[in-house]
């Protein structure tokens, strides 16, 4: 019952209809994703494994219910699993340490006692649960490599001084990273996401690219329309609004 509710919640979101529960849920998801990204930074995770962790989390809760599963535990397991999948192995001890400190700021590190080992066991078991929930399909294609290639191509179009003046690469990557706070990352193709983040970055600084028969983004991604870009952009910007509400 509750599973259905949450599943329909995400469907409703896509259709624009939102119930109170959905709003609450998306806030929780936002907070948990924020937790994942922060933990990732403290663990020294690279961008791609961090993205994998967020995607694992979102995909899990597309079909599971927040009432049944503890989101933070799922998040920790997602981090652990993502490290394995993307070849940046993290140790459970580090994950537990960082998470413990997140919840109890300025506290002493946990003693390596029974409680610690129980926590570790629960992470490992949850990992198996996540795998099963996702039918063991845990490798994803991320927009990062696309956005980087697009950046290279766009760079060659621009005057090098203009390029060095404006932090286009940093902004595009920042937008991409922030997009993982919400489920937008799982609802669109990676190429589109990449394109949109670059588009947003260029628009922010008002950079003019030469115009030919085709716009640059038409060349880069043949099947995208302006409207789609706009939609994704608005979703991305909503996430920034949500930050104010949730934290």
């Amino acid at each position: 019952m509750s599973t259905q509710a949450s599943a329909s919640g995400s469907v409703n979101e896509a259709r624009g209809r939102r119930s109170a529960q959905d709003v609450e849920d998306s806030k929780t998801h936002f907070r948990v994703c924020r937790f994942i990204i922060e933990t990732g930074v403290k663990l020294g995770m690279r961008s791609v494994p961090m993205a994998t962790a967020c995607v694992l989390y979102h995909r899990f809760f597309q079909s599971a219910s927040l009432q049944v599963y503890e989101p933070y535990l799922v998040a920790m397991s997602a981090i652990y699993l993502a490290g394995k999948v993307e070849e940046q192995h993290l140790r459970t001890r580090d994950i537990i340490n960082v998470c413990h400190r997140y919840f109890h700021p300025e506290s002493e590190p946990m003693e390596l006692d029974g409680k610690f080992w129980e926590l570790r066991d629960s992470i490992v078991q949850c990992e198996l649960l996540v795998l099963r929930q996702l039918n063991f399909q845990v490798s994803f294609e991320h927009p990062h490599k696309y956005v980087l290639h697009y950046l290279l191509s766009v760079r060659s179009l621009l005057n090098r001084h203009a390029w060095s003046r404006t932090p286009i690469a940093e902004t595009a990557l920042a937008v991409l990273k922030d997009s993982y706070h919400g489920s937008v990352c799982v609802r669109h193709k990676p190429q589109h996401l990449a394109l949109t983040s670059l588009y947003l970055a260029l628009q922010t600084y008002g950079v003019q690219l030469p115009r030919g028969e085709l716009e640059w983004w038409q060349v880069v991604c043949a099947d995208i329309t302006k409207a789609q870009i706009e939609t994704i952009m608005s979703e991305l910007l909503q996430l920034y609004d949500m930050e104010a509400k949730c934290t």
């Binding site: 922060e38 663990l43 490599k145 290279l152 060659s156």
Partner: protein, 662 residues
Amino acid sequence: MERDLLRQSVSYHGENLMLLLKCEQSENPDFKRVAADLSKTLNQSVRIVSEAHAVMPPLEQFMEVCFEERRELFYRDVERGDVVIGRINSVRDFGLFITLLCTAGGLERDIEDLEIKALCPLRCVPSTGNHDDPLSYYQIGDLLRAGVKGIDRYHEKLTLSLYSSSLPPHLDKVKLGVISKEDLPLHYTYVNVTADSSQTYEKLLESSLGLSNPLNVDYLLGKLGVSDTQTPSLMRGLQSKHFKEDDFATAIRKKQSVSWALKCVKVGVGHFKSRRYVEAMNEYNKALEIDTNNVEALVARGALYATKGSLMKAIDDFELALENCPTHRNAKKYLCQTLVERGGQLEEEEKLVTAEGLYKRAIVLDNTFQGAAEALEKLQLRIQKSLELKEQEAAKEQEKTKTVETSAEKLRKILKEEKRMKKKRKRSTSSSTSSDTSSTSSDDSSSTSRKKSKKRKHKRRRSSHGSKKHKRRASSCSDKTVDDDIEWFPAPANTSASYIDQKQSISKLISEGEQSWEKSRCEDGRGRLDDAIDRSLENLKHGAQSEASRPGRPDVNGEVTDQHRTQSISECARNRRDSSSTQSEYSQKSDRYSKEFSLQGRKRSESERGGNEKMDKGERNSHDQDDGRKSSGGSLKKDIPSNLLDIFSQIAEFEKEKKLQK
């Protein structure tokens, strides 16, 4: 070897196969023929296979930006120092005209159809060795890589140069000049490859191998200058300033390890106190595995090692602990104790110097540690005692070796002694004690000079500079060279004992000397013998006096001493220094030989020994030497073979005859 098959195989497998082939097949003549071709193939294929990322043709090509715009953009964006590739379309006497094909370096543009022409003036063409006219090296249609030297944006003129100085430093390695088709940049070749198929950007990207490279993200992030672990974010809460160093995983882990290790150490100490040493060691090792260089664990383990007796390991552990935490009180204390204990062990093993070093270190560490200071003092005394013992033994050895010396030397020695005694008796106005002291000191000096003490500092202390003087003057016993004999005993012309044969004469001298010796040590031995001795001593005196008159000439002293001794050069240098100093001090003081002699003896004894204790030792030593001397004198008598005794008797008879003649 089939050329084509090999080429195919190598281009597939790459560099590794090529290297292996070169190693294994270097002797194979077939391979040598194809090797050159293969390396070329390899270069080409390697470029494609090892792509870090997908290399795409310029975007503007896909965008179909119009001609004018592209041209405009090109002239806007090209900078000095860019590398361009073009084809020579005419060679004039003032330079080369080039039509640009593509860019290779800073800019990535599609310019082939723009028909941009550039000039490479003559002065920018380097001369190529054997050609008189540098331009004759170039022909129409050659592909040329050049650096952009000057741009006139308004008039749309480009000047190129073939000198690498026109390029920025990071492009130094780019080879300018004529190139071949293989050297054309990838994005251009791709253009040509795909131009007909008119693939979209997307399709091209997807099909590119570089896109599937899992590391392309890292590579490209690096290329674009963005850090991967500190990726920027636009969210307020994720700004880097909000992250505290203490929250990071490594910091927390470290703290956790330390406290875990401490727990293990506590358990271990519990075991240690209940004398369960094996368990204690296990706990300490566990603690050190968890947290290497944990100070507490190291100190505890060191204490355990010390208790069990492995002192060296204990010392290592304590030192490591002190490195990490120099103010750890227990570590210092235990280290001092262990050092002292180890020193004690070493003392028993007779490794005194090492022990001394350890004690000193212990004192340096903690100068309030009584045990170390006491132990050091005891040890130093012991060292000195042992040195004295060694010296005595060495002296005895020397004495023994002396007895094995040639009879000539023995004779000489006896004669010298006698002469000295006589001289003292004749000249010394001082009491017999002074002569005694001088004799004893001379004995001392001679014996010390004879000795070769191993400890250098003692050599310095006992600085045999005085003894050397004695040697020089008295030509005493330690020289073993025949040359010295000759030098010191030039055959005196007016002696009745005409020394036809030196050896014989000396043996005669010995016999005479023996006889006089046997009567009494201080007895006047008159006769020719004494004259001879006198003369020899005169020479020595002259020599000594001349040296005395030259106070500041350490070289002479050194030379003379070098001749007489078989010491090490360093010792000589030291002695030289010492001797020169004393000599300068005293040459002015006394004129008289004996005074100098005695004074030297006394002063030397004082100067040699810095402190009271040393003085005592010196006196003790001199007494010892006295004894040694006497014993050696006695042994001398015993060791002279019987045939020599005959010779002695002959000399005695001869002398008597002379006397009678007179």
